[in-house]
Assembly symmetry: C2
């Protein structure tokens, strides 16, 4: 197999190919990142491994080629020595690919026709529109001040003016705040063909990696949140969390549908905007492994690179499912020509549990260059964010942002990444529910605490219950008195375990609440604890989350041992002072 | 950094080094597995990456060296071009390492003194005994029939006769069934010095990878179960499961203590026997990455290879914690000189969710040679075993073994890898508890069902509760009638969530059981469901496990939608036939 382009994507592709001993040749200038991890055998005959999987057995890639991946002659030379040719960058000479394909019979993935459409961003937009894929309204714009002013009038400002070609990582984009910037924009964007996009005032950026097999079968990775800074990918969080339980699935459907409209096999990165009304617009598609999919190496059953290989070699696609509960990816960007800031960040990462550093072996650093990335995995969003904190702190101040790795939960306020939701029907239940909060504080398990009334805020309750799982909650503790419908009604609208705390009212000593909470009909369970015993509700929540998080279970074991020690202390006290003088402390 | 030995361990070490762009040179004959994934820069000056972490910044490894790793001259040449030298095999010339260290000042890890002790298996045993590490009784044996017969008389038979040197993967081991085999054993073991080990009739083989830092700090990976076939590692299961809740921790302590007795940094593989009385004996120690630690690449926060690099470069050690709930490793052994059986196994693995194939790039296959391995990860032991099944099925019949990947749970019988334990105080509770089993069958969630009585089998109850978590259970459903102590008492002896089902007795309609189960004191919660409603107990168990297993939560969502559809069907029926003719089906 051969790859045109020897940067970090080619490097990670080659690292995946090594696992299956798929021979690979790289075309690029010099000892580029990808070439460093593929050492072709000295004699050509020895380079074809016999142990590779059946479908790829005929592959016979040889040494690397030193030359630009834009050169038709070098592309042809590369094609001559392999059976399958792929690219790690869409800014290639498509005609050269087609010529090489004709001349050598090499398979090229993604299909040159796909690359041709995608490398012209406006052609890509028109293609998507023609196939019914939702995108921001776009129009081709001539390179004149009048034309730019015209589109400002038509679309309003702000407005995104973009180069149609050779644009990536924010290069070739200009944000027009007003029509008066028309000349400035034209100057900044140089001599490339342009188009304009109506401003998408998104609430969040989403990305989905989609793999397309030779036969057109399509599978997608989980939707992730992407965070850009200066138009370059800064952070990725997987999986996407949202109070809208369907947004992740919707994003995957949109991305899969978009990729189905293209030809050829391989992995595609689909970047999308989530709009305030919940609509999803496709922003851009990359016909190759993508920065927003780096996290898959450590976090998914099959990495985007392995799946790209499987796809283009006609092998069965691998499972894209997450194998860890939560993951984040932080790009390591050059800040200057010096490597010292990069070293600082890497040194910080080496001290972070669950962090994996990927350096790309680029010989030179420069401001904004992608030099590596760090993947962080953890057992919860809160854990991943906490692990991310020292990494963001090692960045220059303008790249830090507490919003993405907020400090630990503050006493009396909800965590932004809770695992447990404590809700109660009325503020009068607060004293009864506070002990639950104290227990979760003790275990340092992130939670939120709020008022949700089944009878007085029925809509809020429904929205809370429906969005609980997709926001990342794992348990809901619901306290309610009297008729006490809250726990059961929440349980009816979430698949999560709901722990019900019967709150003692004035008339029936909480027995009414108890029966109302515990006697649920078949089909919808509520885990009921003793009357007013929110302590036990929280301890149950910890056991529930601990069932899938062994480290938490160990903390629970310690808690139980401590309880035993406490009682043993009372045993000793009783023996020491005798029961006549023993003072019973009120719980 | 340099590595003597270019086999699969060196290859995986080099693959980890690439992530941190740590320059690495390999000494071995020819284009060995490790050399294939490290392509040194054409000019020496360009080979030192500037982006590597601080402590390793001075490293300046250059090209590979072609020669035997047993050759002093080649070892010296290797040492000359690097700052840190490590080995992937303990059968090296220790004096040559020491000479190279003296002459060049290169750091060698593991310490030559450690390699010297470990490469002589009897010296290793004596060293461990001297440091109080538990091992099987051993004795040096002269190479005479009389001496062998003498040790048979002393230790009894069967007995393990071993070469002291150059023994691994079962080579150099002879199992003496009787003293009559003395001559046969001497012939088989050739001309090496020998020693004998008293037969260890272990119940299980355990391994722990231990990492030792430059300063002597020691961290250990989770204990795993290893399965050998013909004395070669066949399967590894992580983490170790046991009804003894402390055995995993005990194994780690024994392994850590053993590694503390050696000098130098790096990762050590400690193989142990678990004896019937719970004692743990150290069998052998390898001063390097080990086959039993391959699983760490996909399953742990930090792989054994990365941790070996971090240790020998003086960088902070990485977290050894599992990042997935369960993992297994299957070695790919050559079966003949043909690659076709290997291809078959790899093809099978490519269709298995959560499986990652590692091929080593060895040019030739032969019977018993380690050609690669497959790691399988999953959300539970049952899932991992199910995924392993098609892989074991692709092996020749004599390497298949249903015990390690048993077929799916049979109706009416407990799963060997349950996530839920259904227990009841009396067989008279069975009709009440059966609906729970039906629900778990419906969700295909593995469970066990048995009788555990708090009052009549108190010891059994305590053992059951104490071993529940370490056996891999995540939820216990306990049904009990009358005084109904079972759920609460189990909850007092396990950190797992316990779901209590009050069983209706003859006198008080189950209200007695309900109060007894739900009114637990502060500190020990029981998740109580409605009287006799074991259906809801199982649904709650699914929600609890689903809290940490998103795919299960999706099944629960579907179940809830199906319930809704069922009721909507009744709505339609009621409208269609009218309520005068509507027949109410008994639940």
């Amino acid at each position: 197999m051969c790859n045109a382009g020897g940067g970090q994507l080619g490097r990670m592709l080659a690292q995946s190919a090594a696992l299956l001993t798929i021979p690979i040749s790289i075309l690029d200038v010099g000892h580029s990142p990808a070439k460093q991890v593929v050492h072709p055998a000295p004699s050509p005959s020895a380079s074809s491994s016999q142990a590779q999987p059946q479908a790829a057995a005929a592959t016979t890639a040889q040494g690397h080629i030193d030359g630009p991946f834009t050169s038709p002659a070098h592309i042809l030379a590369l094609a001559r020595q392999c059976d399958v040719l792929t690219v790690e960058i869409e800014h290639v000479d498509v005609s050269a690919l087609e010529a090489a394909q004709r001349e050598t019979g090499v398979a090229v993935h993604p299909a040159p026709s796909t690359i041709r459409i995608i490398q012209d961003k406006y052609a890509q937009k028109l293609h998507l529109i023609a196939h019914g894929v939702p995108v921001a309204e776009s129009a081709a714009v001539e390179r004149t001040v009048q034309a730019v002013e015209g589109v400002c009038a038509a679309f309003g400002t702000p407005l995104m003016l973009k180069s149609r070609t050779l644009a990536y990582d924010g290069r070739g984009n200009f944000v027009l705040r007003s029509a008066g910037q028309a000349q400035e924009a034209l100057t900044a964007l140089g001599d490339r063909p342009l188009y304009a996009e109506r401003w998408a005032a998104f609430t969040q950026e989403i990305a989905v990696m989609v793999v397309r097999s030779l036969s057109g079968e399509v599978v997608s990775y989980p939707a992730v949140q992407t965070v850009h800074k200066d138009s370059v990918c800064h952070l990725v969080f997987a999986p996407l969390r949202s109070a809208d339980p369907k947004v992740g699935e919707r994003a995957r459907r949109v991305a899969e549908d978009a990729v189905r409209t293209f030809e050829g096999a391989g992995v595609f990165g689909v970047e999308m905007f989530l709009m305030p009304d919940g609509e999803i617009l496709v922003n851009e598609i990359a016909p190759r492994p993508h920065n927003s999919g780096h996290y898959t190496i450590e976090a998914c059953n099959t990495s985007q690179y392995t799946n790209h290989l499987l796809a283009i070699l006609g092998l069965p696609l691998g499972s894209p499912a997450l194998k860890v509960p939560s993951a984040a990816m932080l790009n390591i960007l050059g800040l200057s020509s010096s490597f010292s800031e990069i070293r600082q960040l890497v040194d910080a990462a080496l001290g972070v549990e669950g962090a994996t550093v990927h350096l790309y072996g680029k010989a030179e650093s420069r401001k904004g260059r992608k030099m590596g990335h760090i993947t962080v995995v953890g057992q919860s969003d809160a854990e991943v964010r906490a692990r991310l904190r020292p990494l963001l702190a090692a960045l220059p101040p303008d790249r830090q942002n507490d919003a993405y790795a907020p400090p630990a939960q503050q006493p009396g306020f909800s965590s932004p990444h809770p695992l447990v939701g404590i809700i109660m029907g009325s503020d009068s239940d607060l004293p009864t529910m506070l002990p639950a909060a104290r227990i979760l504080d003790h275990f340092a398990l992130p939670y939120e605490l709020t008022i949700v009334s089944a009878h007085r805020t029925a809509e809020r309750m429904a929205a809370y219950a429906r969005g609980a799982a997709s926001r990342g909650l794992r348990v809901v503790i619901a306290g309610a008195g009297g008729a006490a419908h809250l726990p059961g009604m929440v349980a009816a609208m979430t698949p999560l375990p709901v722990v019900g705390v019967p709150v003692r009212g004035s008339a029936l000593d909480g027995v009414d609440s108890m029966w109302s909470i515990v006697q649920m009909p078949r089909g919808v369970p509520v885990a009921t604890v003793a009357i007013n015993n929110s302590t036990n509700a929280a301890l149950l929540a910890i056991r529930i989350i601990g069932a899938g998080m062994p480290s938490l279970l160990q903390k629970m074991e310690k808690y139980m041992r401590d309880m035993e020690v406490e009682v043993m202390g009372k045993v000793a006290k009783l023996e020491e002072v005798g029961w006549e003088k023993y003072e019973v402390k009120k719980h």
